[in-house]
Symmetry: C2
Subunit: 691 residues, 2 copies
């Protein structure tokens, strides 16, 4: 619509008043980068494994954006069916690039992360093939591996049932050996024994590794693994006796066809049992697995938890990047007319919400690096037949799995709320990030159960100490539990809280005290006796979980402080980077301490005035870190393609992006919208265009 000259002039006078205080978000973003105290590209190169990795990532992003299947422009508009097929096309696209030797296997891993839409092949790659490798006999491997690796079959791993997740021994699916026909009969005796949740099971997989209770001669040998074909290879329809399908929509992760599966007296050959360790002979003789095997399968669980810890920091970092970039260009409210509005990140409460989450991202990323390092050390030991570090590794990673996924789940949502109304739009990227992440708190070991495992380990270590034996590994601090109970925080100034040691001491003290409290509670519930399962234990789980969280925080914080110290002593990054990271270490420690301040005051370890000095120092750190906020998220090195967020754009041009994405959303396919014909027209339509 072209207005006449007079109208334009009239309106221009009003516009001028409005524009006087208007700031373009891209200008704000440039100013933010100009004020940083260190070089974010240097830190990004370090965190990402070198400048060449960042470079390669950019090239892969280009390949992805240019491909039909890698383009993300419709990602937030897909129906469930489109998500499912789109994810398969994506992973097959990457698969083909590897086959055609256009990219390396390392590139493929990076590409999967960038593409960022897990689909129906996740468990084929992540569980089916690895299970065959670890649990199948040589003959079985020779038969199944080529089929799986060449995608002639697609598999998944079917353990969880409608009624059983955590407690594997309680599974109800049965596999009964029929010695006459040398076959197993697989059966689902109850509704609740229906397999439920396996990824790729719904509509993709042709085969499963099935966990079922083995019965031979009416004797229950507990859960064992079988390989079972569930769909025909020529029509992809379920085989007779098998009911299989998708479990329906979820909060997120909907490109994956999590499935259900039940069996009505389905016969499979004896050779379908994975027989690298446990065996059933033709004659029906059962041979149990050697003891080392249970340790090996234990190791797989531990590995999965290490990967979850590793991922947590990077996921929270994405949320922090989006929220901090947006709040750096978002302006709201001025006290006086005629002044520019304030950047929202300059409000103390916004900084107090977002900067600790930035610090937590770094803490978790460094923890992930160490967790993977610990796991690799264990692998090297294991290959020499040495399993002694497994209990410690298991205890540390169980608690860290819980703590890190809680921090990240809650942190993403805090970032989303920190973006005000726009955080509620899918186009911000935050709701999808949250919805596709939060299952981490309940899968691969429910977080509460994880904490109980860690608590059990700590209690046993404390009891060992009390009976004169040494405490081990991450629990070593319990060695001096008795003396620790007498120790008190000795800081006398706010500046003291800038150092890691007083914070570490406080976290150590708390964990020690809570361990002693937990033992006392368990003893009281058990009438003086100590049992690590059963009624008394179940009545003390609140104290146990508190303890495990406190211990895990100590591990996390101590690793963060150590990692930055090492970085500095190795000269891996410049002094300016180290200085910024040191502030993050202090902020993370102080925020964690102040959030659970009662724990440190309850037994008099800290005084009220020490608490108030800690708070002063926390506020000072928020001010000190503010100029580096954007540079610190730039340092994660995320591509716009990966974040796929209108609010998290590197250039800050958030409002244009929101509008452009909205304009092409499906509801806007027609001007009059999908409700005009058939619903609104009969009621609204009048003879005239205007009233």
């Amino acid at each position: 619509m072209v207005a006449d000259e007079r109208t334009r002039k009239l309106v221009a006078a009003s516009s001028e008043v409005v524009l006087a205080n208007h700031v373009e978000p891209t200008a704000d973003m440039r100013a933010e980068r100009a004020r940083a105290s260190f070089d974010s590209e240097e830190l990004a190169a370090y965190l990402n494994g070198g400048r060449h990795k960042l470079q390669r990532k950019a090239e892969l992003v280009k390949m992805l954006s240019d491909s039909e299947w890698g383009n993300k422009s419709r990602r937030y508009f897909l129906t469930r069916q489109e998500e499912y097929t789109g994810a398969l096309q994506g992973i097959l696209g990457i698969w083909d690039l590897v086959q055609d030797k256009q990219i390396s296997l390392d590139d493929a891993l990076l590409m999967r992360q960038l593409f960022n839409l897990p689909g129906g092949l996740e468990l084929h790659i992540g569980m089916f093939i690895p299970s065959i490798l670890s649990q199948a006999s040589e003959e079985q491997q020779a038969k199944w591996l080529p089929l799986a690796q060449n995608l002639r079959i697609i598999g998944t791993y079917a353990q969880t049932e409608l009624g059983h997740g955590t407690f594997v021994r309680g599974l109800e699916t049965t596999a009964t050996y029929d010695v006459e026909r040398e076959e197993f009969v697989v059966h689902s005796p109850t509704l609740s024994s229906t397999k439920w949740w396996p990824g790729g099971l719904g509509k993709t997989a042709t085969h499963v590794i099935l966990m079922a209770r083995l019965f031979v001669d009416s004797k229950d040998y507990g859960p064992h693994a079988f390989i079972v074909q569930i769909r025909t290879l020529d029509t992809h329809r379920p085989l007779p006796g098998i009911k299989v399908g998708d479990i329906g929509p979820k909060a997120g992760y909907n490109a994956v066809d999590n499935g259900y599966l039940s069996f009505d007296h389905v016969r499979i050959p004896r050779e379908a049992m994975l027989m690298r360790f446990a065996k059933v002979s033709r004659e029906g003789k059962y041979s149990p697995p050697p003891a080392a095997n249970s340790k090996a399968s234990y190791a797989t669980m531990v590995y999965v938890r290490a990967t979850i810890v590793e991922e947590a920091g990077w996921v929270l970092a994405k949320a922090a990047t989006i929220a901090i970039r947006y709040n750096a260009v978002r302006r709201q409210t001025t006290a006086r007319a005629g002044q520019k509005e304030l950047q929202v990140l300059d409000y103390q409460n916004t900084a107090a919400e977002l900067l600790p989450l930035l610090a937590a991202s770094y803490a978790l990323i460094f923890m992930g690096k160490s967790a993977m390092g610990m796991y690799k050390q264990f692998e090297a030991d294991r290959d020499r037949g040495e399993f002694s570090s497994l209990p410690e590794l298991h205890a540390v990673l169980s608690g860290l799995k819980a703590l890190s996924t809680w921090i990240t789940s809650d942190g993403i949502e805090a970032c989303r709320r920190g973006c005000g109304g726009h955080g509620y739009s899918l186009l911000s990227g935050l709701p999808t990030l949250f919805a596709s992440y939060v299952q981490n708190a309940t899968w691969e070991g429910d977080n509460n159960v994880m904490c109980l495992q860690t608590a059990r380990y700590l209690l046993k270590n404390l009891l060992a100490v009390q009976s004169g034996k040494p405490a081990a590994g991450s629990a070593a601090y319990l060695q001096s539990a008795q003396q620790e109970m007498q120790s008190r925080c000795s800081l006398e100034s706010a500046e003291g809280w800038l150092q890691a040691e007083p914070l570490l001491a406080a976290f150590r003290h708390r964990a020690t005290r809570l361990c002693i409290v937990a033992v006392q509670a368990l003893q009281a519930e058990g009438g003086g006796k100590l049992a690590f399962e059963g009624p008394a234990w179940n009545a003390c789980t609140v104290d146990m979980i508190r303890l495990a969280r406190a211990h895990s925080l100590l591990v996390l914080y101590s690793n963060f402080a150590d990692s930055v110290k090492q970085l500095a002593s190795q000269g891996a990054v410049s002094a300016a980077c180290v200085a910024a990271l040191r502030k993050l270490v202090a902020l993370y420690g102080l925020t964690s301490l102040l959030r659970e301040l009662g724990d440190f005051l309850e037994d008099g370890y800290m005084s009220g005035s020490q608490a108030s000095q800690a708070r002063q120092q926390q506020y000072a750190l928020l001010r000190g870190l503010r100029p580096d906020a954007v540079a610190l998220v730039d340092s994660f090195g995320f591509e716009d393609y990966l974040l796929n967020s209108a609010l998290g754009r590197k250039d800050g041009d958030v409002y244009r992006d929101l509008l452009q994405r909205a304009e092409v959303s499906p509801l806007n396919a027609s001007e009059e919208g999908p409700a005009w014909e058939g619903i609104l027209k009969t009621r609204l339509a009048g003879p005239h265009a205007r009233l």
Copy 2:
């Protein structure tokens, strides 16, 4: 598939072993109801306004389920377009029932709650018509009301812009008066001035109440309201100069077409300005609104906040109902083989997570009743020209809006996680409940901004007291701030914490102390001066928000305790009900205290041993409330139709429900799934059905 007799016998022996420890969830649910200490139907009748209301609700549910538009069986499978059109069909269905006199207006309200899918008419009903009623002149009302009330036009309320939410004075859309043509020219001078978020704006509304900055003779008079037609009435297409559409998908609430809208020099008649209060004459003379008007529009905001507080408890109650029912029939883990597994609600940590949320639901429901009562009292005063209670009402409801929506948002997610893996399925109802609720924390006044309003009020009251004037209303306790700082908790036993008074005293003490701390902080930042906005204020917002939360919790808890006390003294429900409610009051208070224990220890108000007694009492209450857990959620009186949750079924038959809902989900429309043809077939298909 029919197995032969021998196979069936073989397998039956295995099944017998499995079934020995199997418990049907429906049996668990019956047992739960049998052990309750009070009559849940009695309490349900009280909470729902009488047995006749429950009866009527059941009848309306029947009407809804039987209607085509009210059936919810596909609710979790809808595309965005289907959600949008489905919600419109629903509200129009209810509308028609009222027109046909099949149901009353009260019934229609109930039906909307039961149908539970807000859509494109929400703001027509909730903002457009009320705005005309409150802000249009008599002539304007005569013109617009019949059109709106007969659905000849559909309206919405367009205030928020891409770049402006909270700060209304910063809006950038302009309406410039053209005295020559006696028209306004409406214009969007920047991208960020695009209207963004109004519900129903995207594809439904034909008209908007537009908030735009009024310019007359180049002078800026700030935001004013105009009624503007945006779409033609014969084709539903946008009028010239108008760009309008849907803002794209959100975390939830997707049946509502939240929209964007921008203007390119659009002319509207002078009469389009709503002129009940402010006016622009033909000659371009501006008359400001009388002072009372700003109070009236203030009152609308306050009303909206009261409704949000009222809703919060009922929403959290839904989540608590689902999680508690499911965890009462969910069994997991036994310490010894051959024993039944434990109901998950019997683990202390599960009870410690869910029962306080149950208590919070009750606390919020009673608060909602009182908040509405306070608002109605104000209305009665207002109609007598008496506005003096408005500042108090505004301050109380702002803080409560924030606290209650935080509690409910976080509480739903905690309930979801408390359901383990199945909580992640949409079929549980919990993800949708969360996603469609959490915008409450950021809309209608961002929670942090709400807290700042309350804090400002409290600080002013404290300053009044310090200068010898009285503190008012909910801030009356600040009257004795000086003495309060010396007071200490005097309890000497765990049982003492069963009473409300020690908890109230603790909450009062904390709020008082934090108010004094906040004044000191503000003074320090302002170099001795006290300014309630500007740089010093912005640098103290963390302390201000802490204060507002502490104050609001005091109001919430005090109202909960008082309401139950009144219930008892009035004999409104039986003693057995009251006894259960009293335990909830104590549990809620103790949980709130222990969660922020540091606040009570920091200045020595409580001692460590008092804290540990409080914790003992909390644990005892969890045990004491456990037998009544299911009865206490039954008392909310939710219909299965409303909850629409496989896990929250009243009869406990959760696994059958999950499976049945999954089977009909769209991905299961064909046996081979949507990826077979075109994606998987070319790679997988072999000549044989089996390997």
